[in-house]
């Protein structure tokens, strides 16, 4: 049995408020170069710092992680001792991540994901780096093999563009700026807004005022997300060793993901507008509690989707027609996006007489809103589900600007057919497919008789 202690960094979540109480007044004084005030703040909070350090040491001393042939155990707690034990065969994925702060202190975060989300989807520990890597190797052993996917040159550029997640990056950066402002007392928010306003002034030379502000914001967050994608995909490789997929990469945060192929529930091709232009589709996989939504596993070329079988042998494109568009109700597809586009065009028409300054912004928003309408038209003909000869399910659905092509490799699913009285009379239903990862896929307007005939594999 291997037994190690957790890294002291693991306990910062328990002592961080005490730590913040001590360190940030000192840091604030240092940022304005007031050494005397920094020394005063330090001497005042020395007692708290000592108490917090002793507490962290006691917690560290009473922690233990052990691994044997059948299970993984974690013991921690000072007054109340807690021991968590997990069966090794319940583990679907192991991720070892090393942010810069962790690397400086010789630590790594080990996250275990489980095949079933009940009672736990995942659990994380901070361990010394060598121990974390050793545990990952023992839990999901993989031999070093040649990479199946290692983007370089132009492929690397395309992969960076595909993995950039503008929405997630923008939310993250706004929250980070807010927290930093709150903690350090420096007004980063105002500085950021001033910088963006100056950039908007540059754009306003070519664009109307409202549009230039929106374009500035979009360009800023897009560049930030591309930068984040660039750092996340540095040295990105994917290899397969037996039944384990190993995915490594990252510059600021080095990440190694090990996923048991047998535990993979689904793979999803994200066909975004950007992916259509670049003719490359990013592929995300889910394995129990592991959702893998931060970074795609691989990017496949359009027309070369079979390349994915080198990593996921059961993958196949839909072999049959997935839906019957003649039986579908167009309101279910065009109702929301059409309603938004209609509202925007009406607002634009009104603004031409009432508020001309807003006209160009509303016109731009209207053209953007046509995107979901076009995607809805595509979904009207393509959204559906079919069972393939290799006993996997393929389904396709669309949301906003993206079409998703999902392959389901597990039979641990549940189907729910829902229809109101009118739809029932027309032989039409909505189908919800639920997976063990607690992801629900909703398909609209399927033929009831076909959906009812869908069978699980025995």
């Amino acid at each position: 049995m291997n037994t190690v202690r957790l890294h002291p960094l693991h306990f910062t979540k328990f002592i961080r408020y005490g730590f913040v109480l001590c360190v940030f007044p000192v840091l604030r004084a240092l940022l304005v170069f007031d050494i005397a005030a920094a020394w005063t703040a330090f001497t005042q909070s020395a007692l708290i710092l000592i108490a917090v350090t002793i507490l962290a040491w006691l917690l560290w001393n009473h922690s233990e992680i052990s691994l044997d042939d059948t299970c993984f155990s974690a013991m921690y707690g000072l007054i109340i001792h807690r021991t968590d034990t997990f069966a090794r065969d319940r583990i679907s994925a192991v991720v070892v991540s090393r942010p810069i702060s962790y690397r400086l202190l010789g630590a790594a975060r080990l996250t275990l994901y489980f095949k079933s989300e009940k009672p736990l989807a995942s659990i994380s520990f901070t361990l010394p780096r060598a121990q974390a890597e050793r545990f990952a190797c023992e839990l999901l052993p993989a031999v070093q093999k040649p990479s199946v996917f290692e983007p370089a040159g132009f492929d690397r550029f395309l992969f960076v563009m595909l993995s950039a997640n503008v929405i997630a990056t923008s939310i993250l950066s706004v929250m980070t700026a807010y927290r930093v402002t709150k903690m350090l007392g420096q007004d980063f928010e105002t500085a950021a807004i001033t910088g963006l306003s100056q950039a908007a002034e540059l754009f306003s030379a070519w664009l109307p005022a409202g549009v230039s502000a929106l374009v500035t914001l979009v360009v800023f967050f897009a560049l930030l997300s591309v930068l984040r994608g660039l750092f996340s995909t540095t040295g990105f490789t994917v290899s397969r060793s037996g039944g384990i997929l190993v995915c490594r990469g990252g510059l600021l945060t080095k990440t190694e993901r090990r996923i048991a192929v047998s535990a993979i529930n689904a793979s999803t091709l994200h066909i975004t507008p950007w992916a259509r232009i670049l003719r490359r589709y990013p592929v995300y996989i889910t394995a129990g509690g592991f959702r893998g939504h931060e970074l795609p596993l691989i990017a496949v070329k359009k027309g070369d989707e079979k390349f994915l079988t080198r990593i996921l042998p059961e993958f196949c494109l839909p072999e049959k027609k997935m839906c019957n568009p003649r039986r579908k109700n167009w309101v279910a597809y065009f109702g929301k996006p059409g309603g938004v586009a209609g509202a925007l065009i009406v607002l634009w028409l009104v603004s031409r007489y009432a508020l001309p300054a807003l006209s160009s912004l509303l016109a731009l928003l209207f053209f953007i809103s046509l995107g979901p309408v076009i995607i809805a038209a595509e979904a009207f003909f393509r959204e559906g589900i079919c069972k393939n000869t290799n006993r996997t399910f393929s389904l396709s659905y669309s949301r906003f600007f993206t079409r998703y092509l999902v392959s389901l490799y597990t039979n641990d699913l549940s189907f729910e057919l829902k229809m109101h009285a009118l739809a029932a009379a027309e032989g039409r239903c909505d189908l919800k497919v639920r997976t063990p990862s607690h992801i629900t896929y909703r398909l609209r307007g399927l033929e009831y008789s076909e959906a009812k005939r869908l069978k699980f594999n025995i």
Binding site: K115, S414, F415, L417, K418, H420, R434, K455, F456, I458
Partner: protein, 139 residues
């Protein structure tokens, strides 16, 4: 195996609706007035009683071809299917009122969701549970 909802199962849901409506009615009475409290209580009870009764008209639980199939709903028909292989557990819940009526609640868990079936007869619940537990043991 196929089981339908007995009348006492519907009655159980209606009585629970009555209890809930009474609580809401008392809250409105205390906050507003007796008149509005009575309106709220009886109105809510009437609505819930009709909805519960209609919802349970086509209620049916079926075990067929290694699948558990649940048919429910009136305004919004719902057919749920689970593979029996992946049922992870079941539990039976009874209250004094439900025992008086000879019905109970059974929950069926899989990895992805839990199905809660309210108002099946105790005999049907026992039969369904023994069937599901036998399947688990058999695996």
């Amino acid at each position: 195996m196929k089981c339908y909802l007995p009348v006492s199962g519907t009655l159980l849901a209606v009585l629970w609706s009555a209890g809930f409506s009474a609580v809401v009615g008392i809250a409105v009475w205390l906050l507003v007035s007796v008149f509005w409290g009575l309106i709220a209580g009886f109105g809510l009870f009437a609505l819930l009683a009709v909805v519960c009764t209609l919802h349970r008209i086509g209620y049916c639980v079926e075990v067929r071809d290694y699948e558990l199939i649940l048919n429910r709903g009136f305004f919004m028909l719902s057919v749920q299917k689970f593979p029996l292989r992946f049922v992870t557990g079941t539990s039976r819940i009874t209250t004094p009122l439900s025992r008086l009526l000879g019905v109970g609640i059974i929950t069926v868990s899989t990895s992805g969701r839990i199905a809660v079936l309210i108002g099946l007869s105790l005999r049907d619940i026992a039969q369904l549970r023994s069937f599901l537990i036998e399947r688990e043991d058999g695996l």
